[in-house]
Each structure stands twice: as structure tokens, then as C-alpha cells.
């Protein structure tokens, strides 16, 4: 169960209060009615699904109700930062991105150090 820092409540709260809301910083095209089928598929369906650093949205649905953004490592599930909705993609604090993530179980299984 994750522990998530809500940038509006300014506190760490249990994942139970939150709902994940997909990849962040995907803007709805202003001219959506005019885009091509390919562009629509790209906007609506295609996602980065990064292994490693990902930018994503959460909603503090059972808390302040706000959507916000988070940078998380999808391998370690560690949050590097969270920030309010509407803010541009944030640069990460120095220690965050460069920190070596602990690999998945499958990597440790075959070859312990």
C-alpha cells in the first residue's frame, strides 16, 4: 500500500484515499474535432507505460478531491515528487532521478550479489 504525498493536503496519506488517474501531461487537443484518426488514437490510447521514471496523475478522491501529478519510479514504486495539477512537468530533485532503483524480484532471483 503506497504512501502518497498530497500537494494540496500537504501530508502523506495512505493509497486507500487515492485513485490513480493515468499518465500525466497529456493535453486534450484544442482542435480535437479536427484531428486525424491516428492523432486521436495517439491521444486517447497510446501511453508511454515507462519502466522507470513515469509522470502520472492521481486524485485524492477520498481526501481533498484534487487531481495532482506525481513522478514515480515504476520499478521501485518510489515517489520522487508530487505537484499540483496544471503545473508543467517538474524537473526532479537531484537525488531523485539519479538514484539507482532497486530492481525487480526477477533480477535478484537469478543472481544475488
Amino acid at each position: 500500500m503506497l504512501l502518497i504525498h498530497c500537494p494540496y493536503c500537504e501530508e502523506d496519506r495512505s493509497e486507500l484515499e487515492f485513485r490513480w488517474a493515468g499518465e500525466a501531461h497529456i493535453a486534450r487537443p484544442e482542435n480535437i474535432a479536427a484531428i486525424s484518426d491516428e492523432e486521436f488514437a495517439e491521444y486517447f490510447f497510446l501511453r508511454n507505460n515507462e519502466k522507470g521514471l513515469t509522470y502520472e496523475r492521481w486524485r485524492h478522491i477520498h481526501g481533498c478531491g484534487r487531481f495532482f501529478n506525481a513522478a514515480r519510479d515504476t520499478v521501485s514504486d518510489r515517489f520522487l515528487m508530487t505537484y499540483k495539477a496544471g503545473l508543467p512537468k517538474q524537473a526532479l530533485p537531484e537525488t531523485g532521478a539519479s538514484e539507482k532503483t532497486v530492481e525487480t524480484y526477477e533480477a535478484t532471483e537469478g543472481d544475488a550479489r
Binding site: 500500500m1 503506497l2 504512501l3 495512505s14 485513485r19 488517474a21 486534450r28 480535437i32 474535432a33 484531428i35 484518426d37 486521436f40 491521444y43 486517447f44 496523475r57 486524485r59 478522491i61 478531491g65 484534487r66 487531481f67 521501485s76 514504486d77 495539477a85 496544471g86 532497486v102 524480484y105 535478484t108 532471483e109 537469478g110 543472481d111 544475488a112 550479489r113
Partner: protein, 992 residues
């Protein structure tokens, strides 16, 4: 047997142990009665009576005894019962405390423990090598499922599942702390005190009934000048008295999850003879710790040699626990087989307690001088450079065969117990669960914590710190405080080995067990490697080593070492299998805790629920809601009730509880603009006081939800959603509002539960509600169909909608929910007097189907566009943007031949189609048939005097009048495609 202290067992040693003879408990084992002392485990109590044989193994059904004195026990699994319903299979006898009246039974044997028919499996074991089942049982083809598998299933399994519902209850608690300390041995206790002294909030957890950890057996340690065990109890008392410390004993940290989250299970009452009624059986603790200190100790390993599994063979530290803590000798003439100094201390303690030590067989040639000297001074024979190469004794060990390493000089030595030690394995389970990485300590042949993934530190034996004073210093530092504390051991231990011992080497065929419960032997590991299983995970899965209920606490390291030897690769290159939660098995009931019965899932009831129940309503589940389904009168079945309700609504009127409909108040100067973007319809044209049916799509253009939206004022809308859709629609709206259209000044508030909604539908609807409505002209002219107004009903401020989901003159009265029952009562009294009825969701479904009104989620399924549903009129052609505008234009959504919603009439009017029936053009085509669509709604329509149905049919609207077929299992039903309106096609009734 009586409960007098004299009958506490022949192996109970006077003056030894820490239990009080004054407090006894009686229990039965396989029907025979025994007396135990309070504080005994089932294991210690049975051993006190000389009982070693307690179970049978999984595969070969070999007789098995008690191997350990703790949670790592693989063999001694028993069935413990208070009564018929409170029966627990697969309990470790080494953990279960005896309580008065306990009924204990052995498992996995038939007919008796001493004579088990399935033991002939042992004789067939040459055929049952690891993985043998992958290679056979394939012929004839059907025989696997019919013959072989049932046979294997019967033979497998351990305990018998409970057969009655569990009457016990379980508790659950969330907790937070600055520091959680797992393990209350010397290291954990010290760290807890150190942390607590800084003012931190501390939770200290230990799986045993008392703190102390290894001090249970290690009677030689001195701490702070006191006997170690006594020091531990004193410190525990001190910690318990501190306001910032919680001490949880009989509590296991079973899982270390993400972000400092830990699962604990506290065994609250399983040890009590007569637990209070309010006392839970177990309590689940879900702890969020800022920091975790792992002081989980280490676990002694057994020696891997031929027939090392006989009852009477056990870990040296276990024998020492039974002696020093329970006052029980594990035999009268005990052999010792070891590769580590720790077994010597067990031998010394036993010898001093008057137990004969047949010999200490040490596979090492060199060992600590101190222990050797002590052995000599106690007159114990020590054979260094020797090994035990076999044992005998059918139901209990009777002798060990000892030989000099290399095989010479073999001889039998009679023993009635054999205690073993191959050294100690640090308990890194929780560390691994926290996703930390291990390193291999080559010198001591063990894995130790290396890289931490969470804010956590390992101390003491689980960190490879063996020396007591080093350990204390490490613990103090981990806690962050400063304490003055010292301790010392009598001996410094050395030695240890992993893998097969002498005589169980690669070329032998002996059964040298690694994993006792799963009957995995050294040669099974070798076979796996020979068959190409080179990954440790493959080896584990092929042999099932470490997959039994003890999760390989004793076996993993041995298995790994043997695999590494076979593969010719260093141990760290072979790797470890993953330690998975839970550390020890956890009762489902504990994880479920209160989520059972009424608290399993909230049952939502409307304000009028009880009144409806009093009128005889049957209810149906719609999401979490309980909705009145129909109102049978005496003697009516469902069909009769629904037919009557349907008739009555159209003839007179009916009253319906529509409170569960989702409601969202949309308020703000930009409210209309927002709704324009979220619905396919246009809303700026809707005047206050009017309502409109709206359709919501997602960007993909498929129908997402629908409902009537009323405009109460320029800046205030009352939006309704489907019952099931309410939460997700609000979430969807909030998403767009907050992240796509944050510039709009509008807010959304759920009002589903603010309003009780009483629908009155039918020709007499106006007459029924008229007397209760104040401040509003209800005439057709002043308040026509699709109007909304705020008014007063029975003196209560209400919202009145003139809407209809039946095609009749209809109103929906919204009153604040707490007033719902009173208003309902009054309206129903009035309606009943006029010959109206109460009706439920079933009648509502029939009446709306008669009018061709769709139900989202029944007539649509997430792949239906507004046009498919015949609702293209509700999609604004003028708007330049709304959610779904682009998705709707995708190639597949505009192609010819899409499934469209149409009506179906069976050729035989009495035939009611099955909802979900599939439709074909040619019923005689071969399978797989081409299906045109399916029946979405189908009812007997009392008002039409025939059956009616709605269906999604490919190119449906172009097929009007066409005959199609609905093939059923036993017959084919002929249907005609029609429009969707079956009743009052002109639609005059709705306007009253």
C-alpha cells in the same frame, strides 16, 4: 490421566524450565489425554510425555516428529480444535500453546498415525522422483482428469479444511509509529529501548508469548549482570510502562510492503482455555512505520544426511529450548550431530540436567577449543571428523550409524533422540520482502542484508552480528539513543555448513532430506540440475523445495548449496529464490477481519426502505443499493405482481422509489458551458425551469451514462445519472473540470443522498400529488412535460420534476432525504385510496421497454454509440466541441451495418425471449454461426398483451419487418424486427 504435577510427563525434569507446575492444562492428542503445564507448546507437552511421532510427510507419508521449537517447523503440523466449528488444520505444534480442553489430532494419515496405509508411497519412492508426474499419466488422454489426478489429489494435501462456518471474530487496527522493531530478542529489546529513550513512538513486535528470542534456549548469556532471560522480561515490563511504546507479543510481522507498510498478526486468544466473548481470535495490525528495525534473529539448520527425518531427530537449539524453557528432556540417551559449536551447548545443558549424551559427532576436524574442553570436562565423547551416515527406528530413532569422514569405521550407536546443527541462517525474510538486496558472506556461508530499499536497518543475528556485546552496540546505535549496556556469552560459536553432509553426496541414493514437509531430498535437487534446471527458481519449482508451508526456512540454503555444487558455480551466482510474504501463514479470517456479513460490503438503503419492506417489497441488488424489485400481494408470484403493477400504473398510477438515481448539483456561472462540453446535447438553450434528457459519452464516443438534467437557475443544474454510474460520472466530470477546463467557474456536488425521490406515474399522478404541492400550478400549461420547479411539498422545500420513464403523466418529487418517509407515507396513502399501486424496478423496466426507453448498461454495453441506440437526435450538430465529438467520427463508429437498437416481436406473442439470446438470419447454418446481435431487454407486457423485446441487431433499422431467429438450446424462436415503441406509439399519454 489426572492433572496432578506427577503426571506432567516422564521427560519433565524437576527444577528445569520456567513454567509453573501449579498451572496445568489437559488436552488430547489423537484421542489420548495428556496433561501439560501452562506455557507449554503442544510440542513441548507431547515431548514431556515421550511422544515424538506427531505427523506424516506430504509425499511419502513418512513418520515425522518435532524438528524445531518455533515458527520454522516443517514437520509437526497438527489439527487443533476447541469444538467442531473452531477447528484449525495445519497448526505448528511448536507454536500452538496448550490450553485446557484442546483437542489435537495428527494429519495426513489413514487410518492411524502409527499405521498409515499411504506409507507404501515410501517404498515406491524410486518411481516418485522429483517431477515424475510431468513424464507420465498421459495415456490414455482422458485418464489424467478422470483417474490419475483425483488419485493424486486425495493423496496430497495436509490438513482437512474446516467444515463449519467460523464462529470466532477477528479485529483489525491501523497504527503508525516512528520505529517498528521486529523481534524482541536482545537486539530488538535493546533497539526499542534506545529508540524509545529519544521520545520516538515505538512498536516492538515478537512472535513468541514472551520476549527474549534466543534467550529462550540460551541460558548462558548474561546481560547487564543478570541472567539474559530475566533481563529481557524486566526490560519488557519497563518498555510496556512507557507511553510511547507498544509491545506486541504473540505477534508476527508477516509482511513488509511498500513505503514502510507492514502487516502484523496478533494471536489474541488461541492460547486461552476460555476466551472472553468479546475477545477476538486474532488481530490484524496494519502499521505505517517511518523506520523499521529488523531484529529477526536467525534460524538453526539441520544436517542433511541419510534418513535424517525420523521422529526424535531435532535441532539442537530446539532441544535446548525444550529443556531450558519448558523443562523437558527430548530423550534419555541423546546423540548429537553437528557442524557448529551451538550444538555443544545444547549437549552441555542436557548433560547437566541428567540426560545421557551418547556422543557428539562433529563433521568438522577443527573446532573451538573452549567447547571441546567443556565437553571433556563433562565427560562427553566427541568424535570429530565423523559423520552420522544413517539412522534407524521405524516410528522413532533408535540408533545412529556413525563413521569417520570418508566412510570407514562405521558403527551403530543406540540413541533415543538425535540433536543436530549445521549452523545458523540469518532471518532475512522481511528484509527481502522490503526489496533489499542481499550479499553472500563467503566466510560464514550465509546471505546478509546489503542494499536497503526502504528506511530500515537490520541488527543482530539477522545482520550476521553474533557477538553479544557487538550486537548490543549495534542495537543501541540503530535505535538512535545512547544506553550503557553490556552482555556476554559463555562461548563464541564457530562453524557451520550448508548442503549435503558426508554420506549424502552426489553418488548416493540415500534419502537425505532437505525440505521435510515436501519430502525433498538432496538427490532430488541433483536430478533437477541434471534435467537442465539451472535457475534456482526452476530447481525450486521442479522439486518443490521450499514451497511447503514453512516456506523453506530450513531448506533453502541446503538446496542452494547442493545446486551450486552440481552446477559448479559459486553460490551467489546461483542466487536465492524470492522470500515472499507472509513470513508464516496468516488466517484468512484475520485478513478479512470485520469485512464479513453486514460489513462485507455496505448495503445502501433508501430513506423509504423500511416502509417498502413493510409493504412486502422484494429487493434486488443494484450495485451497493438494495432496490425494491416488486411488491407481491398475498398469493402473488413475481410475474403476477409485476403484471398487476404494470396494469395499474397505466390504468391509474403507481408510486416508485427513485432515490437511488445519481444526482449531481452543478453550480456556477459557467455551469451550462461545462455541461455543453460533457454531454452530447446542448445546454445553453435549456431555460431555467426546464429539463432535458442528456447523453454522456467518453472521448471514444460510446454511451457512458444518461439521465435527465434540470436547470433550476441560470447557474444551477440538477443532473441525474444512472444508479450504478453516479460515482464514476462524478469522477469523470471532476477530471475534466479540474484538468481540462479549470478556467470554468463551476463546482460539482454529489446530492444523490440529499434527496429522497418519489416518482408518481400514471394518469392520476397529478391528482395524487396535487394536495401536497404548494406554490406551484401543476396544470399542463403551467407545468408541462419536462419541467422542473422548486416548491413546497407538505411544507418541505422540494424539487418537483415533471418527467416520465413510463410514458405516462409523471412526476418525481425530490424532498430532503430525512423527510422522505413522511412524504412517501402521505403520498402512498393518497395514491392507494385512488387505486394506485406501489411498483418496483421490474415494473419500471417493463414500462420503459414498452415505450422503447433504453437502460444504459442493459441495452448498451460500452460499445454502443448514441446513433446505435437511436439517440442521434441527442447529439448536438452545432457544437464545435464536446467530449466524444471526435471519437464518434472514427471509421468503425460510422460504418454501415453497425449493431442498432431495435424492437423485436416474437411470432408467437406468448413467447418471451431470453435476455442475452443471440439473433441470426439463418438458423440452419452450421456452427460457428454468424450472429447479428442479441436481445438486450425482454418482457411479458401485460399492457400490450404480448411479449416485447429490445435488441441490438446489425443494420437493425434497415431490417424493419424482417424475420430473424433466436436459436435456443432446444428450439428456435422466430422474431420480427420492429421499431422500439410498443405502447402508445403516438406518445400522447405523457402529456397528460
Amino acid at each position: 490421566m489426572s492433572g496432578s504435577p506427577d503426571n506432567l510427563g516422564a521427560f519433565r525434569i524437576k527444577g528445569a524450565g520456567r513454567l509453573t507446575p501449579a498451572r496445568t492444562a489437559r488436552f488430547t492428542f489423537d484421542g489420548r489425554s495428556y496433561t501439560a503445564m501452562e506455557g507449554d507448546t503442544v510440542a513441548s507437552a507431547l515431548l514431556a510425555h515421550g511422544v515424538h511421532l506427531v505427523g506424516r510427510s506430504f509425499k511419502y507419508h513418512r513418520p515425522r516428529g518435532i524438528l524445531s521449537a518455533g515458527a520454522e517447523e516443517p514437520n509437526a503440523l497438527i489439527d487443533v480444535a476447541r469444538d467442531a466449528a473452531r477447528r484449525q488444520p495445519n497448526v505448528r505444534a511448536t507454536v500452538q500453546e496448550v490450553f485446557d480442553g484442546a483437542k489435537i489430532a495428527s494429519q495426513n494419515r489413514w487410518p492411524t498415525l502409527k499405521f498409515d496405509v499411504s506409507a507404501f508411497n515410501d517404498l515406491l519412492s524410486p518411481f516418485f522422483a522429483a517431477g515424475f508426474y510431468y513424464k507420465t499419466f498421459m495415456w490414455p488422454k482422458e485418464a489424467w482428469a478422470k483417474l490419475y489426478e483425483p488419485f493424486i489429489r486425495r493423496a496430497a494435501g495436509l490438513g482437512v479444511a474446516p467444515t463449519e462456518e467460523d464462529p470466532d471474530h477477528y479485529a483489525s487496527r491501523y497504527a503508525h509509529c516512528d520505529v517498528l522493531v521486529a523481534g524482541a530478542g536482545v537486539a530488538g529489546l535493546t533497539a526499542a529501548l534506545s529508540a524509545a529513550s529519544t521520545g520516538a513512538s515505538v512498536i516492538l513486535v515478537d512472535e513468541q508469548p514472551e520476549v527474549g528470542g534466543a534467550l529462550h534456549f540460551d541460558a548462558a548469556a548474561t546481560i547487564d549482570g543478570k541472567n539474559g532471560y530475566d533481563w529481557a522480561q524486566g526490560l519488557a515490563a519497563k518498555l510496556k510502562a512507557m507511553p510511547n511504546v507498544t509491545v506486541l507479543t504473540r505477534t508476527t510481522v508477516f509482511g513488509y510492503y511498500n513505503h514502510g507498510f507492514l502487516g502484523l498478526v496478533e494471536r489474541v486468544s488461541d492460547h486461552l482455555a476460555r476466551p472472553g466473548r468479546d475477545l477476538p481470535r486474532e488481530r490484524l495490525w496494519q502499521v505505517r512505520a517511518k523506520r523499521v528495525i529488523l531484529a529477526t534473529g536467525s534460524i538453526e539448520r539441520h544436517m542433511v544426511f541419510a534418513n535424517n527425518d525420523r521422529p526424535g531427530i531435532m535441532l539442537a537449539s530446539a532441544a535446548r529450548t525444550f529443556l531450558n524453557h519448558h523443562g523437558v528432556a527430548v530423550g534419555k540417551n541423546v546423540g548429537v550431530y553437528t557442524a557448529h559449536d551451538s550444538a555443544y551447548e545444547a549437549a552441555f545443558d542436557l548433560k547437566r540436567a541428567g540426560v545421557a549424551i551418547a556422543a557428539i559427532i562433529d563433521s568438522r576436524s577443527h573446532l573451538g577449543d573452549a567447547v571441546l574442553a567443556e565437553a571433556r570436562s563433562l565427560g562427553i565423547d566427541v568424535l570429530t571428523g565423523h559423520s552420522v551416515i544413517n539412522t534407524s527406528g521405524r516410528l522413532r530413532i533408535s540408533s545412529m550409524t556413525v563413521a569417520r569422514n570418508g566412510g570407514s569405521n562405521a558403527r551403530k550407536i543406540p540413541v533415543d533422540a538425535l540433536i543436530v546443527s549445521a549452523g545458523w541462517t540469518p532471518s532475512v525474510h522481511l528484509f527481502s520482502q522490503s526489496r533489499g538486496k542481499l550479499r553472500f558472506d563467503e566466510q560464514n556461508q550465509r546471505f546478509l542484508p546489503d542494499i536497503y530499499a526502504q528506511d530500515c536497518v537490520s541488527i543482530g543475528a539477522c545482520n550476521g552480528t553474533d557477538d553479544l556485546s557487538d550486537l548490543i552496540d549495534e542495537a543501541i546505535a540503530a535505535g538512535g539513543g545512547s544506553l550503557a549496556l553490556s552482555g556476554e556469552n559463555r562461548f563464541e560459536w564457530t562453524g557451520g555448513m550448508i548442503g549435503a553432509a558426508e554420506g549424502a553426496g552426489p553418488e548416493t541414493v540415500v534419502k537425505a532430506f532437505i525440505d521435510f514437509q515436501h519430502d525433498v531430498t538432496a538427490k532430488d535437487i541433483r536430478l533437477a540440475v541434471r534435467e537442465g534446471m539451472h535457475s534456482i527458481e526452476h530447481i525450486k519449482r521442479f522439486t518443490t523445495n521450499g514451497m511447503a508451508s514453512d516456506q523453506g526456512k530450513l531448506s533453502n540454503m541446503h538446496g542452494l548449496a547442493i545446486a551450486a555444487e552440481m552446477l559448479g558455480r559459486p553460490i551467489p551466482k546461483v542466487g536465492l529464490t524470492t522470500f515472499r510474504a507472509p513470513y508464516t501463514p496468516v488466517t484468512y479470517g484475520t485478513l478479512v477481519a470485520h469485512s464479513r456479513g453486514l460489513l462485507f460490503d455496505p448495503a445502501r438503503r433508501t430513506p423509504m426502505h423500511d416502509l417498502e419492506a413493510a409493504e412486502g417489497a422484494e429487493f434486488e441488488d443494484v450495485g451497493n443499493w438494495k432496490r425494491a424489485w416488486y411488491f407481491p400481494k398475498r398469493g402473488e408470484d413475481m410475474a403476477a405482481a409485476v403484471n398487476r403493477e404494470c396494469r395499474t400504473v397505466r390504468a391509474v398510477a403507481g408510486v416508485f422509489d427513485a432515490s437511488t438515481l445519481g444526482k449531481i448539483e452543478v453550480v456556477g456561472p459557467d455551469a451550462a458551458q461545462f455541461l455543453n462540453l460533457l454531454y452530447t446535447n446542448a445546454w445553453d438553450t435549456l431555460k431555467p425551469g426546464k429539463c432535458r434528457y442528456g447523453i454522456m459519452t467518453r472521448e471514444d464516443g460510446f454511451i457512458y451514462d444518461d439521465g435527465v438534467v434540470g436547470r433550476l437557475a441560470e447557474d444551477r443544474f440538477h443532473v441525474t445519472t444512472t444508479t450504478g454510474g453516479a460515482p464514476r460520472v462524478l469522477h469523470h466530470l471532476e477530471d475534466y473540470l479540474q484538468t481540462e477546463f479549470p478556467h470554468l467557474k463551476v463546482w460539482l456536488t454529489s446530492t444523490t443522498e440529499q434527496w429522497a425521490v418519489i416518482a408518481v406515474q400514471g394518469p392520476k399522478a397529478r391528482e395524487i400529488i396535487q394536495p401536497f404541492v404548494e406554490g406551484l400550478d401543476l396544470s399542463n400549461e403551467a407545468f408541462p412535460h419536462m419541467s422542473v420547479a422548486e416548491c413546497s411539498v407538505m411544507g418541505v422545500s422540494a424539487r418537483l420534476f415533471r418527467v416520465s420513464f413510463t410514458g405516462e403523466l409523471g412526476y418525481e418529487i425530490n424532498v430532503p432525504a430525512d423527510y422522505g418517509p413522511a412524504v412517501w407515507k402521505a403520498i402512498w396513502e393518497q395514491a392507494e385510496g385512488m387505486g394506485a399501486c406501489l411498483y418496483g424496478t421490474e415494473t419500471m423496466h417493463v414500462l420503459r421497454a414498452e415505450k422503447g426507453y433504453i437502460i444504459v448498461g442493459q441495452d448498451t454495453d460500452g460499445t454502443v454509440t448514441p446513433d446505435d441506440a437511436g439517440l442521434d437526435w441527442a447529439v448536438s450538430k452545432k457544437k464545435t466541441d464536446f467530449v466524444g465529438i471526435r471519437g464518434l467520427k472514427r471509421p468503425d463508429l460510422v460504418r454501415e451495418g453497425r449493431k442498432q437498437l431495435v424492437g423485436l416481436l416474437t411470432k408467437d406473442p406468448a413467447e418471451v425471449l431470453e435476455e442475452g439470446g443471440q439473433i441470426v438470419a439463418d438458423p440452419n447454418q452450421p456452427k460457428p454461426m454468424t450472429m447479428l446481435g442479441h436481445v438486450t431487454s425482454s418482457y411479458w407486457s401485460e399492457n400490450c398483451g404480448r411479449s416485447i423485446a429490445l435488441a441490438l441487431v446489425a443494420g437493425g433499422r434497415a431490417r424493419m419487418g424482417e424475420t430473424l431467429y433466436v436459436p435456443m438450446k432446444d428450439r428456435t424462436i422466430e422474431v420480427e424486427v420492429t421499431d422500439m415503441v410498443f405502447f402508445d406509439k403516438q406518445g400522447g399519454r405523457i402529456h397528460g
